[in-house]
């Protein structure tokens, strides 16, 4: 029933991921539109609360996670110099994972939620998603287990770590948090998942992707082994403590608060170490970004990663948090890592890997350019609207400006966000169309080749 074809699971995970980015981002665009026209599509299924949580869950666990798994199904066997443990299991896990995501999607539209940000799916979906993740992890660990390369390349540390951390944070954030009825503990456990889904899954797999792509795309050696060690072990050690900064100035004990602030700032160490390593590798190759779109996506991703990780630690400080908390700023920041940094590296991964799988370069280079520029410019318009809005809003609240007035003040920024968001959304159609064309044309070419061979033979 499930195909055993070489690289088929990687390709299929990518295809599913791109379908989900379109669905997931249309939820996001609807959310933005509802802030302009509050009565838009106001029915039982698509109220603001349902759509917003569906958007968050879909872009993270459907689009980004599937793109990650797709690239791991290619990169891990390549790095381990072996083939994937089981392509069949890979394709099975893809179908299963997608069924679970569909269940979660409809549960959210139906109004079922566990009210944990980044873990909104209800319990019955959480359990199934955990099983799906474990099947994927099992397959990939088995692949590394049968490796013929003795050394583990940096990307593999990150991938294997992430494949352990994701199920662990998923368990801690989703299960006890739904059984413990009291407020603060529940909030802390929920944010353990909330921040570690970002830090020990999105960030670490994304960084692993860049470590793989950079030397391949530039043909240059990786800059420093020592920096990769510092970056990996520092993030593995400190990231888990970041959850409490989401409850900054809230009713949590101050030692927990401090235990959240300090690691947030200490994160500058792994982030800068990793970036120094990337940019050291890039030395002398920056001109290539003019023509090499995947490389340009990767480098733009690293720049957005730097900015996300300058904002993040500062936002964790109690004084900064007291201004920007609950404002539009947070939304702008929350998009920079998952979209600006790691969706970009995933786009690069797709553009690098897909041609290797189908045996033909991407159908249209112009579509790749359009994809990059619409994504980048759209995101900048989107993010700066929200950041300006957030600062204005935060200080207006402190000044005691009547709340309704602060809502009206947000009008132009909310519109700017929707315009930027539309551009980000349109960009993804270039990706989807380009992928569809590439796969289709590659198939035709193969058929013709076979025919040609048959004739000449």
């Amino acid at each position: 029933m499930f195909t055993d074809e070489k690289w088929s699971s990687s390709k299929n995970w990518f295809i599913a991921a791109v379908i989900w980015i379109i669905i997931g981002m249309s939820m996001g665009l609807l959310t933005a539109a509802k802030q302009i026209w509050p009565d838009l599509l106001n029915n039982r299924w698509t109220t603001y609360g349902h759509i917003r949580s569906a958007h968050v869950m879909l872009v993270i666990y459907a689009w980004l996670s599937m793109a990650y798994v797709g690239s791991m199904f290619y990169m891990i066997p390549k790095l381990a110099k072996t083939k994937i443990y089981s392509e069949k299991l890979g394709n099975f896990s893809l179908v299963f994972y997608n069924i679970v995501i569909l269940e979660g999607f409809f549960a959210l539209l139906d109004g079922q939620t566990s009210v944990i940000e980044y873990g909104e799916f209800p319990l019955w979906v959480d359990v199934q998603l955990l099983i799906a993740i474990v099947i994927v992890a099992y397959n990939l660990f088995k692949t590394v287990g049968q490796r013929t390369e003795k050394m583990l390349y940096v990307s593999l540390w990150y991938f294997l770590g992430s494949l352990l951390w994701l199920p662990l944070t998923w368990i801690v954030g989703n299960f006890p948090a739904q059984w413990i009825p009291s407020g603060v503990q529940q909030g802390l456990m929920g944010w353990f998942l909330g921040h570690n889904a970002i830090g020990l899954w999105m960030t670490t797999v994304g960084v692993g992707q860049i470590y793989y792509l950079l030397p391949k795309l530039t043909g240059r050696p990786l800059y420093s082994h020592q920096l990769s060690m510092i970056g990996f072990w520092a993030i593995a050690t400190f990231y888990v403590w970041n959850g409490p900064h989401h409850l900054m100035n809230g009713p949590i004990p101050s030692w927990i608060s401090k235990a959240g602030v300090i690691p947030s700032i200490v994160l500058l160490i792994p982030v800068w170490a990793v970036l120094a390593n990337f940019w050291g590798t890039m030395k002398g190759s920056w001109a290539q970004t003019r023509t090499n779109v995947p490389l340009r996506f990767t480098m733009a991703g690293t720049i957005f990663y730097l900015f996300a990780c300058l904002q993040g630690p500062l936002q964790a400080l109690p004084s900064v948090s007291s201004v920007i908390k609950f404002t539009h700023w947070t939304v702008g920041h929350a998009h920079m890592g998952p979209f600006g940094a790691f969706s970009f590296t995933s786009f690069a991964a797709i553009y690098y890997i897909l041609p290797k799988i189908v045996g033909r370069e991407m159908f249209s280079k112009k579509a790749m350019e359009a994809h990059f520029w619409f994504s980048t410019v759209g995101f900048l318009v989107f993010a700066f609207s929200l950041w300006i809005a957030g600062v204005v809003q935060g200080f207006a609240w402190i000044e005691g400006v009547p709340f309704l007035q602060t809502v009206l003040m947000m009008e132009p920024y909310v519109q700017g966000r929707a315009i930027g968001g539309t551009m980000m959304y349109v960009a993804q159609f270039f990706l989807a169309w380009n992928m569809y064309k590439t796969i289709k044309v590659a198939k035709q070419e193969k058929k013709q080749q076979a025919l040609h061979q048959a004739v000449t033979a």
Partner: protein
């Protein structure tokens, strides 16, 4: 020439090859090492000396205008709209006990609002009414 070759060989020795990817062994940039130290020292200092939360100043002296606040925020919703009698000089027309009783238990169409306020707050409202004319 020979020296150059030697240099070259040393560089080569510093490269590993893992899964077909070359890895160099460049030193960690000095600036980065400095940043690491600054961050580490900051972290220890923050852990020892900082409160970890914004310090909120205890509420200033008890509000002297509490009576007026309750009067404008609650009483005037009816007593200024014509829905209920004007309260100017009400302390001349009714005894202190009666006024407080009306606030607590209501009268005619006026609802009882005694459960919303403490006795002290009702005293303050009465004090305000004495000067309201």
């Amino acid at each position: 020439m020979k020296k150059e070759n030697q240099q070259h060989d040393e560089d080569r020795k510093d490269e590993d090859l893992v899964s077909g990817i070359k890895i160099e062994h460049n030193k960690v940039p000095k600036l980065l090492v400095a940043v690491f130290y600054v961050v580490a020292i900051w972290a220890i200092g923050y852990a020892i000396f900082m409160p970890g939360k914004l310090e909120v100043e205890p509420e200033a002296a008890p509000q002297d205008n509490k009576g007026e606040l309750i009067f404008t925020g609650t009483c005037l919703n009816c007593h200024a709209t014509g829905a209920a009698p004007d309260l100017k000089g009400v302390t001349d027309r009714l005894k202190e006990e009666d006024i407080k009783n009306v606030i607590k238990n209501g009268r005619n169409t006026m609802p009882a609002i005694g459960h919303l306020y403490t006795d002290k707050e009702i005293d303050k409202v009465y004090e305000f009414l004495e000067d309201y004319r």
